[in-house]
Symmetry: C2
Subunit: 280 residues, 2 copies
């Protein structure tokens, strides 16, 4: 299968590497507005050739859109305009309502499959791509009833090759659940980094004292705004809802400490400890 990857960074690159390793991809075409990303992706053997937008899409059986969610939403209609009914298009974005709504009346809507692999790191660019990135993680497929059977089968086959387990969900539910489980973690981590940078003016002390616990909690704060501002923007209502809850949960800790109510503090912590039973 000939595959065009729009966006040859961490996610697009990692998918490309795995699809080639498993001989699912016979030829990979890279499309990227960054010439440096394309050159790096060629060097790293993530792609076989670079191409412009139109030719790259026309020459592929499958088009994978792997760019920030606002850009995905913007270009998806033009991608669908360019393809015929034998071609399939998928995305990998972290928000889904916006993108499916942008093409709901497009005559080739059913050639598109909305896909979200629940994996990422704080790094970006082709040099961060790794072949076994997705193994064991969930892949959400949204609104599958709006995709043609053969297009869906192609994406399910890719899910299998990536060693992910598929979860089916409508786009609106997806955006609620990811706000709760993924998007809020990023805001927490960004705000923690800003807190420490504000309070701890001695950068040397941060570096010297940083324990593995701090590093783990603040890891996502390294994630780039190019990817995350569009996610928060597209999922604004759900993110605000969970952010309000998060602030109110922090206020409970504040109140317990201020009132020296250590029994309440213990209850709050015991409740949080339940996450262990759920994650393991």
């Amino acid at each position: 299968m000939k595959i065009a990857i729009i966006g040859t960074g961490l996610i697009g690159g990692s998918i490309a590497l795995k699809l080639r390793e498993k001989d699912f991809a016979s030829h990979i075409i890279g499309i990227d507005k960054s010439e440096k990303h394309l050159e790096d992706a060629l060097l790293l053997k993530i792609i076989d050739e670079k191409s412009d937008f139109e030719n790259g899409i026309k020459n592929a059986d499958l088009v994978i859109i792997s760019i920030p969610v606002d850009a995905s939403r913007k270009i998806l209609p033009s991608v669908l305009d360019l393809i015929d009914r034998k071609q399939t298009v998928m995305d990998v974005g972290s928000t889904k309502s916006g993108i499916v709504n942008s093409i709901k009346n497009h005559p080739k809507r059913d050639r598109f499959v909305a896909f979200h692999p629940m994996w990422g790191t704080e790094n970006s660019g082709p040099e961060s791509a790794k072949t076994d990135s997705f193994s064991g993680k969930a892949a959400v497929i949204c609104d599958q009833e709006n995709s043609a059977e053969d297009a869906l089968k192609t994406v399910e086959k890719i899910t299998e090759i990536l060693e992910m387990h598929p979860i089916y969900m409508n786009a609106a539910d997806h955006d609620i659940h990811t706000a709760y489980i993924s998007h809020i973690s990023h805001i927490t981590s960004y705000a923690l980094a800003n807190t420490v940078l504000e309070k701890e003016r001695e950068e040397d002390t941060i570096f010297q004292l940083a324990s593995s616990g701090f590093s783990s909690t603040v890891r996502l704060a390294k994630s780039h705004p190019e990817m995350w501002v569009p996610i928060f923007k597209q999922n604004k209502e759900n993110v605000l809802d969970v952010l309000n809850e998060h602030i109110s949960q922090l206020r409970k800790f504040k109140s317990a400490l201020e009132k020296e109510n250590y029994q309440y503090l213990e209850e709050l912590i015991r409740n949080a400890n339940k996450i262990r039973g759920i994650l393991e």
Copy 2:
């Protein structure tokens, strides 16, 4: 050297394993109010014998107190009462002002060295102890001018054996910096876990969708209240100070989203990204 470990859990156990491996400890005596911990520690060869409080302390050259910070503070005066001027006592607690103040007028104050290895995990008990836990991390030694030279040398030797780099600081500064860098991470993580548990009633969905990013940010929320309530209690003022800042940082994200001020949101994220340059 004969060593008594009061508290044979994660930290005490990990130190014991390393001191034996490097032949610094010739004999290790375990003291613990939990009979099960003592039995486990014997089985795991963390300790050579179990003992009661008084005999254990009297028979050791070095006593390592490795229990929650409120309990450490409570028993330290009795430990100093029991030792002679050839013996050394150290703790491993995450707060320091309380414990050094509790013995500031003790005639054997100088036999005590206040020590804080900047490492821990969300796990506890002897079965979590590992020999190479501390390698490469910082160890803070507080108020070293109040410790006898030979006692300080013993603890510096242990720092070296644990492959940690020593940092010298007064107890008050230590408690400020750890509030900023370590204690707030735990509150963030607990509050995030409580947020997700409150909003996401479908535990199955949490389990299925949890990405590595979420797991990393919420990892510390598994830490037990037995250890953390006393830390927050002893470091209340500093923790409240940084918690207020953290809530105000989260409000900035809220405000940026509510006002759809995405340029401000980007600035907040770019500022948080600076943590990468500091940690790496």
